[in-house]
């Protein structure tokens, strides 16, 4: 491609990018393009169902459904990876500990002071699966919906941008402060402050490193306040939005309604066990 064609191409891509703001934001996937609040309600309903319906069938079904949703949402691989890790790290541990100390009949086997029974195993299994189901819904939500769209959905529903600012700024602050801290840590290492050594030494190395980093971050908030004020952060006018979410199609509303209905039925069942 000649340089001119290159420039032309770049200009067209830039124009496309800008034009993108005239259309609703899209992640290119039916599931992920759902309104964040819809996704929240659907996943929340699944979590409620996992908790409300007794036994191990409900939470395990929910876990499977979560995996299916992740595949439909195009985030299958990362989600399944994270979910499996959670299962091993926490699910297994919860299962073992709960079963070990649940007591009950019939006894399956005994190891020292620990008596393992069928009831206990089932209870442990259910407990672990419920925690996994709930954890799975949280993990899946954030795998499907980037934080900025969640915040945008909230703002479009009337939440003040100052609240969403706090959360979004927190993420960036974590990155920035982390970078600064690492730079100072490396500088301290070069100066010979012990980063290895016994416990007390390392704690003593901690304070002179971190206090100035934190202090300069705190001092910078003054300027940040002024800079954002200059960008009308304190304006009392209703904010507009450059990026927008697509209007909710009928099928999405129906889908969410069904999910909520199932959750309600599940809860009703917990109160009046019709099953």
């Amino acid at each position: 491609m000649s340089a001119d064609q290159d420039r032309g191409g770049a200009a067209i891509r830039a124009e496309d990018f800008i034009d993108g703001f005239r259309r609703p934001a899209t992640q290119g996937n039916r599931v992920r393009d759902m309104n964040p609040i819809s996704v929240f309600l659907v996943l929340g309903s699944l979590a409620v169902i996992a908790v409300a319906v007794p036994g191990i069938v409900a939470p395990s079904t929910v876990c499977v459904v979560l995996v299916l949703i992740s595949l439909a949402g195009g985030v299958g691989r990362p989600f399944i990876g994270n979910f499996s890790r959670l299962f091993v790290a926490i699910g297994l541990l919860l299962f073992v500990l709960r079963s070990a100390f649940a007591g009950g009949t019939p006894v399956l086997f005994t190891i020292g002071a620990i008596t393992v029974s069928m009831e206990g195993v089932l209870e442990g299994l259910r407990f672990a699966l419920v925690v996994m189901a709930i954890s799975g819904t949280v993990t899946l939500y954030f795998a499907l919906i980037p934080i900025k769209y969640s915040m945008l959905a909230l703002e479009l529903k009337g939440v003040t941008p100052r609240a969403t600012y706090v959360l979004l700024a927190a993420f960036q602050a974590i990155t920035d402060l982390g970078k600064n801290a690492r730079v100072i840590m490396d500088a301290q290492k070069a100066r010979g402050i012990e980063t290895e050594g016994n416990f007390v030494q390392r704690v003593r190395a901690f304070v002179p490193v971190l206090a100035p980093v934190f202090l300069s971050a705190i001092a910078a908030t003054e300027e940040k306040a002024i800079a954002l004020d200059a960008r009308a952060f304190n304006s009392r006018v209703n904010h507009s939005h450059l990026v927008t979410l697509r209007p909710t199609p009928a099928w999405e509303v129906v889908f969410v309604a069904i999910a909520i209905l199932c959750a309600v039925v599940a809860c009703a069942g917990a109160v009046v066990p019709w099953y």
């Binding site: 703001f21 602050a173 954002l228 200059a230 450059l242």
Partner: protein
């Protein structure tokens, strides 16, 4: 409203004194100053001469944000400072300062959205926002950056984006406080190009700077400050070639210092230059009057 040559006076200070809370000694100690609109006013002085406090005062940051005792008469855009709503004032007067890192909001992940942030806060409709940001991007030559994450830019790039987001708000008056102090010479030149553009668009600019050579090229008038007072205020040429500058311990432009040295050595130039191009002219003119050849005697 005070009028000056038919236009509203930009800023009018009369015997203004300001002391920050918990400090000894005033930051502004009897400042009387009048600034005309539509010009680029440079403000120079040593550290702690009150330059930044002056900027903060004009924007109402002092005394609304930084507490302290304020005395004297301050009028901004024809209205008394105490009559201004602080939020209105900070939206009416744009502001860019020296730290490129604190001026990036941190909540947007593309430069395009970052530039639009003030417009969003002001409730500007989307299409108007897009047009305005496109305009600013073109004027400042930021096309290559619009998709990038503002939190990953260099200092100079961030400063340009900071300018862009203020310029997008299209205020008629902008206060700029040492915008190039953390930038390398190349980025500084670019920033000054942006500032010159503002002036050519008829904006009023108050610019605090140490880089006197750059001010010499672009400023219409210069305010010299020393220990919280205004020592001299006048057209650029008059101020830069005066002794008041030296009194305030502000180094004059390189070429002006050179011309002075030449004058001291008996080789006076036909006129006192303040920019390189003027120096070139002055030296060429002087050399035209000289015979060819070079004698050591």
């Amino acid at each position: 409203m005070r009028r000056c040559g038919g236009a509203v006076v930009l800023v009018s200070l009369h015997d203004v004194r300001f002391t920050y809370a918990f400090t000894e000694g005033p930051a502004l100690d009897g400042v009387t100053l009048e600034l005309e609109p539509g010009l680029l006013h440079g403000v120079v002085g040593m550290n702690a001469s009150g330059k930044s406090t002056l900027c903060a005062l004009i924007r109402g940051v002092v005394p609304h944000f930084h507490e302290g005792t304020l005395e004297g008469d301050v009028q901004v855009l024809g209205r008394d400072l105490s009559d201004w709503d602080p939020a209105d004032l900070s939206q009416t007067i744009g502001c860019v300062f020296d730290n490129p890192f604190t001026q990036i909001s941190g909540i947007k992940d593309t430069v395009f959205e970052e530039i639009a942030i003030g417009l969003e806060n002001l409730g500007v409709p989307r299409e108007a926002m897009i047009q305005r940001v496109k305009e600013v991007v073109e004027r400042l030559g930021l096309q290559a950056l619009i998709r990038k994450n503002p939190n990953e830019l260099s200092g100079g790039q961030r400063q340009k984006v900071a300018f862009a987001s203020i310029i997008a708000m299209d205020t008629d008056f902008i206060v700029i406080d040492e915008p190039t102090s953390q930038l390398d010479p190349e980025a500084s030149e670019e920033i000054f190009g942006v500032i010159d553009q503002l002036r050519r668009h008829g904006k009023s600019v108050v610019l605090v700077e140490h880089k006197i050579d750059l001010l010499a090229r672009y400023a219409d008038s210069i305010v010299v400050m020393k220990e919280g007072r205004v020592v001299m205020h006048g057209p650029t040429r008059d101020v830069l070639t005066s002794d008041a500058l030296l009194d305030a311990n502000v180094p004059p432009p390189e070429v002006t210092a050179l011309a002075r040295d030449l004058a001291d050595a008996g080789k006076e130039l036909p006129f006192m230059p303040i920019t390189r191009s003027e120096a070139y002219q002055a030296i060429s003119r002087r050399m035209e009057g000289r015979p060819r050849g070079h004698h050591t005697a």
